[in-house]
Point group: C2
Chain length 86, copies 2
């Protein structure tokens, strides 16, 4: 399998935006400090990743499905903490 | 132009994940409360959207380019507030 520079730039984008929610989830779980976190952001974002996930499954795209399954999980954790510890 | 249900689900995903950063940016600007926000999340996320933006331009995809230009702007504002008011 051969990847072009363009593919690699796309992978870096997918990796960065997906993995970025991990340090936020860890911080939120550890500190329970959600005062500065927007409830509306995480409602919209979690719903958005759910739609992306369904879209990825429907078009048979493994990268879209996998990236959004991971992001949906992280976003759901942050959202549930925001609701629980607002 | 005709959109399928699959296309509409994809658009809902793109719209949700893009617009979600607007209420977070507004909240952060108004309250300057960034204690619960992860610096590493916004470094990774802002870099990720920058790569997505370059990728969108390189592959000539208007949806990828437009969505990530907007998200990059919102994420940059939140990141700059996190650095300024940590």
């Amino acid at each position: 399998m051969h990847f072009s520079l363009v593919d690699i730039i796309g992978f870096l984008g997918a990796f960065g935006t997906t993995i970025s929610f991990l340090p936020q989830a860890i911080k939120t779980i550890q500190t329970k400090d959600t005062s500065g976190i927007s409830l509306y952001m995480y409602i919209l974002f979690t719903m958005g990743t759910a739609f992306w996930l369904i879209y990825g499954i429907l078009i048979g795209s493994l990268p879209v499905t996998a990236a959004n399954a991971v992001t949906f999980l992280f976003a759901s954790v942050i959202l549930s903490y925001k609701i629980r510890y607002k």
